[in-house]
């Protein structure tokens, strides 16, 4: 446990060096938040509610999801794929600790850094210029925290598998771009899932992608309370366990291929 804590701390620190990039990123996330916000303002100038969402719910959703973009690290993480191509992974796999847990810990550390420096600022910018909705219930904050880390774990597990596909595919960039775009749509980043037609919504609800963004949002916006909130966390946890297990199986298959073919 102590080891994983240290790994997570290193993950946190690793990203703390890029100051200029952090500022630039916050700026860009905020700009996109603004554009989206005005689209929704035009939308809600005509309709009052969409599936329970008011205008301030939607704006809150918009800026919070801009803030979660980096913590979830949806785009362009290829560190593990790179080690597969360089052959470095063969050595890494024989280190005396669990490979998947190592990367998960480091990713949670990274996400914590990104949550503080890339997540909160766009939300604050949004709150200065628009009326955003903060949770009424103090315990919502705690539930959201838990839900946030579960969302990061889900996103990590998905990214982990995409990276591992490098064992079988010559160039993972195609898969990476494709999956990132599917995630941004189906997690509710492009537009809240609640805005989709009902039948589509019911299908999307059965995918792990909603556990990345839609679910933490539902908790933050207090669309789910009490037992329902705990149920939401339960579903997220289910996806974390299921996807991490799938990743583990993939890693095993991949490393076997490595042993058989010698890379």
């Amino acid at each position: 446990m102590r080891l994983w804590w240290e790994v997570a701390r290193r993950g946190f620190r690793r990203y703390a060096t890029y100051r200029g990039a952090t500022f630039a990123g916050v700026f860009t996330n905020s700009v996109f938040g603004f554009i989206r916000a005005y689209v929704y303002l035009a939308l809600f100038a005509v309709v009052r509610h969409i599936n329970g969402y008011t205008v301030s719910d939607t704006l809150t959703y918009t800026f919070l999801s801009q803030g979660m973009l980096m913590p979830l690290f949806i785009w362009g993480w290829s560190e593990i794929a790179d080690t597969v191509y360089s052959g470095q992974i063969a050595t890494d796999l024989y280190r005396p600790f669990d490979y998947e847990t190592y990367w998960l810990s480091q990713d949670l550390g990274r996400a914590t850094y990104h949550a503080i420096l890339r997540g909160i600022p766009p939300f604050v910018v949004g709150a200065v210029f628009f009326t955003l909705r903060l949770p009424h219930d103090p315990e919502t904050w705690l539930l959201f925290c838990v839900s946030f880390y579960l969302a990061v774990a889900v996103s990590f597990a998905l990214r982990f598998m995409v990276n591992l596909s490098a064992f079988w595919i010559i160039d993972v960039r195609g898969v990476m771009g494709l999956s990132a775009s599917v995630w941004t749509l189906l997690s509710g980043f492009t537009i809240p899932i609640a805005f989709f037609p009902e039948t589509l919504r019911h299908i999307i609800d059965f995918t792990p992608f909603v556990a990345m963004l839609e679910m933490p949002m539902n908790i933050f916006l207090e669309r789910v309370h009490g037992v329902a909130a705990l149920q939401t966390l339960g579903v997220q946890l289910f996806w974390v366990v299921a996807l991490l297990t799938a990743g583990r199986i993939m890693l095993k298959a991949g490393s076997q291929k490595l042993v058989v073919q010698g890379g």
């Binding site: 554009i35 005509v46 309709v47 537009i191």
Partner: protein
């Protein structure tokens, strides 16, 4: 002009190099085509809930989206690798650019040509054709010329924005993402009618970063719409002029950037 032939040759060699991985390349084009539709999904979902967004119908918004997207992705094929300027600088590729008897901008643009964006161009065209088929535009020679001028100007304006924004890398290496907020951000903004934005955003994206001239102003004329922002009527015809002006500005910024590079070496 003779230089242009050399740049074409350089670009051609980059394209050919990509064809060598045929399957992966094809998959990526198809992927880019499908993925860029996801951008349009947001617009479709919004129009599930209302018939008009700020007095614009779905086909009208699709017209804005399609014309802007075609030009943006075409610009991305060439200008997209300006994203990699920090890398080119760090690897010393830019030093080499300076030792060759050709212009620096042309060389930088042809360092890489990302032909995968063709998928995006096709997608933009599909949306554009859908919108035109639904719109009953009163086509006449002026509108037809304006339409062509709109796409051409949009391409040039995007190119100028790519160059100007990414030249920032010469001053601040790791601030590349700021450039994204005007390139990708500008394209995203142009997909909706300008009238939905606040006044300072409209001014910023019309007079400083000329995104409004990419599709909004010319589209007002072609579609025969009234402008809720009450902009001067003449703006609808100014896109080609704005395109020329942005090229002049972009060249100036690029020159300053190269001058800075040559005095600081970084």
């Amino acid at each position: 002009m003779a230089d242009a032939a050399v740049f074409l040759r350089l670009a051609g060699s980059r394209v050919r190099a990509q064809f060598s991985y045929r399957l992966s390349f094809l998959l990526q084009i198809v992927g880019a085509f499908l993925l860029s539709f996801l951008d349009f999904v947001a617009i479709l979902v919004i129009f599930l809930h209302l018939p008009r967004l700020a007095h614009w119908t779905l086909p009208e918004v699709a017209f804005l989206y399609g014309s802007s997207y075609v030009a943006f992705k075409a610009g991305d094929v060439i200008g997209g690798n300006l994203d990699k300027l920090p890398l080119l600088i760090r690897m010393g590729t830019f030093d080499q650019v300076l030792t060759r008897p050709l212009g620096t901008l042309g060389q930088t643009l042809t360092v890489d040509i990302d032909i995968r964006h063709v998928g995006g161009i096709v997608q933009g065209l599909v949306v554009l054709l859908y919108s035109i088929s639904r719109l009953h535009i009163a086509w006449d020679p002026v509108r037809a010329v304006m339409f062509v001028a709109m796409i051409a100007s949009a391409l040039v304006i995007y190119g100028a924005i790519w160059v100007s924004a990414n030249a920032v890398s010469f001053w601040v290496m790791d601030a590349r993402e700021v450039a994204n907020s005007v390139t990708y951000g500008g394209n995203f903004l142009s997909q909706y009618p300008m009238s939905i934005y606040s006044i300072w955003m409209r001014r910023l994206f019309a007079y400083v970063i000329p995104i409004a001239f990419v599709s909004y102003y010319p589209a007002l004329y072609i579609l025969g719409k009234t402008d809720a922002t009450h902009s001067p009527f003449v703006l609808r015809f100014l896109s080609p002029l704005v395109a020329v002006a942005s090229v002049i500005v972009a060249r100036f910024i690029w020159r300053m950037a190269v001058r800075r590079y040559r005095s600081t070496g970084s």
